[in-house]
């Protein structure tokens, strides 16, 4: 039965979907947290590695996976434009080639909805909601149809996991207000029960933080919101984001993977507060009713 893990990879994103026919990874963070998780769970084969957003702090973790001799990665998908022409891009090419030599890797330098139907490895439908092929082809530095300048964040891949026709989890990477606007124009349903909030709950860039959060929450309508952050954070998630989420979503529960002064202050002494600070790794069994997440911090 499928299980989803949202990993505590400090200031970064990484999620692991263990489905009946293999493991899919969405983002790899940086450092060894993901690699350690895979070893601890005796995973030696990754069917699909999706790098939704090609920032260097996402690629570092991917390169450690690809360099490992104990792990086989079969398919890698990545939107490349934000790093093309950089040293880190060449680093990635070396590790892709190194991995390919020993295990016949399939690599595609594009993540758009054209992949839909190719990413499922069991009961969970892995959907690419965005960016559109139009936006991905234009790339960072160009403009969208409304002549707004696109950044690498604007074309962040947005991935959704659907189980039994129910949209369970959304991974919008670092999508900004322009990317969100384009996503909503091309996609009439981006709802999900759980979301890993964009930008670790920080400023989305190029837009009003309250307006972005409200628009995003109204479109996704999540019941659980995760902020994937590092430890001892004083700026993440932004307090305006927390307030806008609470105002927009009735009964929502928020979780930070690392420790956040902002979330701690928000929870305060309220023992009935539904939100949790510094929960570590989070996991979710898709077949459990009612659906509920479990987190590492529950042990203590």
């Amino acid at each position: 039965m499928p299980i989803l893990y949202v990993l505590d990879v400090k200031h970064g994103n990484s999620a692991v979907l263990m489905d009946d026919l293999g493991v899919t990874i969405i983002d790899a963070g940086v450092g060894s947290d993901l690699l350690e998780f895979l070893y601890e769970n005796n995973i030696d084969t990754v069917e699909i590695l999706i790098l939704s957003h090609a920032d260097k702090d996402h690629i570092g973790g991917a390169m450690s996976l690809l360099s490992s001799k104990k792990l086989r990665v079969k398919n890698v998908y990545l939107n490349t434009d934000s790093i093309k022409g950089s040293e880190i891009w060449d680093d990635l090419a070396y590790t892709l080639w190194d991995h390919h030599k020993t295990s016949d890797l399939n690599f595609e330098a594009s993540i758009t909805p054209h992949l839909n139907g190719k990413l499922d490895r069991g009961k969970v439908n892995v959907q690419v909601l965005g960016p559109s092929q139009y936006l991905a082809a234009k790339g960072p530095g160009s403009t969208d149809r409304n002549m707004r300048k696109l950044t690498s964040n604007s074309i962040s891949a947005v991935i959704r996991l659907v189980f039994n026709k129910m949209p369970i989890a959304l991974f919008p990477s670092d999508i900004d207000s322009i990317g969100l606007d384009n996503l909503l124009r091309g996609c009439d349903d981006i709802r999900a029960w759980l979301v890993v909030f964009p930008h670790h709950g920080g400023n989305p860039g190029g837009g009003d933080i309250h307006s972005f959060t409200t628009t995003f929450c109204e479109a996704v309508q999540p019941e659980r919101v995760i902020f994937s952050i590092g430890h001892n954070q004083s700026a993440f998630p932004n307090s305006a984001v927390i307030q806008a989420i609470e105002t927009t979503l009735s009964g929502v529960r928020m979780y930070t993977t690392g420790s956040s002064d902002v979330m701690l202050a928000h929870i305060g002494d309220n023992k009935d507060c539904p939100h949790r600070n510094c929960v570590g790794n989070i996991w979710l069994a898709f077949d459990k009713e009612p659906l509920e997440i479990i987190y590492e911090g529950m042990k203590s």
């Binding site: 060894s32 690699l35 350690e36 001799k69 060449d90 070396y94 080639w97 690599f107």
Partner: protein, 230 residues
Amino acid sequence: MSATMLPDKIHRVAVIDDDEQAREAMAESIEDANLQPVVQRTRLNSLDELIRKLTRDADAALCDHRLTPRNYAAFQGAEAVAALYQISFPALLVTAWSTEDIDNIRPYRRKIPVLIRSGGLEPRIIREGITVCLNEFNNVFLKERKPQRVLLRIEDTDSSFAYVIVPSWDPDTGLKLPLTLFPAHLGHIDPGMRFFAIVNIGALKNEDLFFDGFEIAEEPGNSYADLIRP
């Protein structure tokens, strides 16, 4: 008293330091850890002599890094701890100069499981440190010490050092590595070259990183060659 359990065979802990006062302080810490200090007061002429004495008189060791200034030893502490690691003898390196001495500690760092900053020599740290060593001898590593094969890129070189980036550890932090760390068979080390190496990318600090098992990274071929910038 520390709660860390040590095997019965670990009881006597050798104190290796060229400074008499430091030796006394180390010995006190060892006693506070409910272990028996074995203080080495006389000069050590060789690593062989050190190994012979320690394997006879002690079960573990605390070793300062700078041992040569007072003509106390013919070697430095990092070298000694690494030699002891080779024979699965638990030894902890102590230094006030973890940052300043990193260039001469680094070549031995893979075989130095525990580097204690002077002033941090608490009884609990000693017991835990010995346990870390014993675990490594059984291939059980702390996350911060686990060896991983990763890519590194040479950014620049001078006559003594290579300046490298390890993207899987921190793509924004440059590291200075002595050229002597690279095996001679790899040839001349030039900017732009890439290697695979065994690195503990779970390490939190630069001075805790080790590098070993260098291989030249092959330039991408087939369609992957097209990914590389001209």
